[in-house]
């Protein structure tokens, strides 16, 4: 017993080092391995408050730009309102009912990151405003990411510029589905993979979110096709997509709450064991 104590006492620094090293390495491996595994994140009172203060100051320098963006969005929405008057009246009842399934929460990005392979954003609304993990986040120009961790007043968003992110998307013109991923090369571009070979995609086609995802509603803009590669191993197209969003300059965002998501999840959970 004496010897054990002596050993611990003599090597206390080394033991402390090993203990801390194991702790931190566990955190590293965990955060790299799968979704929603981050224990250490910026959705907390300390960093949330600090980022909110910094953002308060920063926004003053971008007010004009943001106002222009909002005005543009208003113009686009107004155009929609004026031009589609007839079709609104003629919409089938079900799809009108369908519009109520989606709730939109307004929020603001207070911390942005885009230059590492795993990028996360921090936003200033949390569970008190009804934000939950796995909700979609979009800006007026296109998709931004998916909610990852939530605290009472803040939340972190896994950006589309994150190698762990995978979002269902389609080519608007031909309706062929693929998965949106990021290869960590360029902050202005994402990749759409697994587009079947028989799809006749062209440079300049618009990419929008697909209807399969329960996170994003259908037809939210993503970007346009910039380059098309043929994957020789799998006979699928890989497409470089130029994002509509400037991910390096984001401020106002909308969180999409699909009210049916609990019901869908419950159904899927019940179905899976039988597969």
């Amino acid at each position: 017993m004496q010897q054990i104590f002596n050993f611990i006492f003599k090597n206390s620094n080394r033991l402390l080092f090993l203990l801390l090293l194991i702790t931190s390495l566990t955190l590293v491996v965990q955060s790299h391995s799968y979704h929603r595994s981050q224990v250490v994140n910026s959705a907390n009172i300390l960093s949330g408050n600090v980022y909110e203060q910094i953002n308060e100051i920063e926004t003053y320098f971008r007010l004009k730009q943001q106002n222009d963006k909002l005005a543009q969005e208003n113009a686009a929405l107004r155009k929609l309102l004026f031009n589609q008057k007839d079709s609104v009246f003629n919409l089938p009842k079900d799809s009108v009912k369908g519009y109520d399934k989606i709730e939109v929460i307004q929020s603001k990005i207070i911390n942005n990151s885009y230059n590492v392979p795993e990028n996360y954003l921090t936003i200033n609304s949390g569970s008190l405003k009804g934000v939950k993990p796995d909700m979609g986040v979009i800006s007026s120009q296109g998709i931004v990411g998916v909610i990852e961790k939530v605290s009472s007043n803040y939340a972190t968003v896994i950006s589309v510029l994150n190698i762990k992110s995978k979002i269902n998307a389609k080519v608007k013109r031909t309706n062929h589905f693929g998965s949106l991923i990021w290869t960590a090369k360029n902050a202005g571009y994402v990749q759409l993979v697994e587009i079947p070979r028989l799809a006749s995609v062209r440079k300049g086609d618009t990419i929008v979110t697909g209807g399969i995802s329960k996170i994003f509603p259908e037809n939210i803009p993503v970007g346009i096709i910039d380059k098309i590669y043929m994957d020789t191993k799998t006979n699928y197209y890989t497409v470089d997509v130029r994002l509509f969003n400037d991910m390096t300059n984001l401020n106002h965002v909308y969180i999409i709450n699909n009210k049916d998501i609990d019901e869908i999840n419950k159904l899927e959970a019940e179905t899976k064991p039988n597969e």
Partner: protein, 168 residues
């Protein structure tokens, strides 16, 4: 002793604040950010209790991880740097370093430069290897290590000169 502790706490808070508010938002060429916050580990008093340094470095890194959503990457890199700091002292200043009083924040001599450079390089290499974490990105990690090391080195030396004790 008590004033050293207080001084180190102030340095901890100041460096973290400077890192989060200023240096994390520089994005030179779109991807280079200096990390001068590790000056805390480099400037920590030489002849003091080592466990204090280990714990302080771990929490220094963890705070950075909280702010940058990076898992435990900064904590690991800082912890390892704190552990092998004595070896770097021996490498840069010679074997008898414990008997002379080393001051890092003083005029830049070749020994001090060697020590600061090798520490920053080690920390950044660990940081980016852990952050990129995949063999596909090993070239990116090395490239970023080199770029960021140069950048951090410049900023660190500037900070040391700016806050040099004005006695004498």
């Amino acid at each position: 002793m008590n004033s050293t502790l207080l001084f180190n706490i102030i340095r901890f808070v100041f460096l973290i604040a400077a890192q989060v508010i200023i240096f994390n938002n520089i994005n030179l060429f779109g991807f280079l950010n200096p990390y001068p916050y590790i000056l805390f580990i480099l400037l920590y008093p030489v002849n003091t209790n080592k466990s204090g340094l280990l714990i302080a470095s771990f929490f220094l890194g963890l705070t950075m991880d909280i702010f940058s959503n990076s898992g435990g990457v900064h904590a690991t890199a800082c912890l390892i740097l704190a552990q092998i700091r004595p070896a770097f002292f021996r490498f840069a200043f010679g074997l008898s370093y414990e008997y002379q009083t080393i001051k890092i924040n003083d005029r830049l001599s070749p020994e001090r430069f060697t020590f600061i450079f090798i520490s920053i390089l080690t920390h950044h290499l660990l940081l980016f290897l852990l952050e990129f974490f995949k063999f596909d990105f090993i070239l990116d990690a090395l490239l970023r290590t080199i770029g960021t090391t140069v950048f951090t080195l410049l900023v660190s030396i500037l900070i040391i000169y700016l806050f040099k004790p004005t006695k004498k």
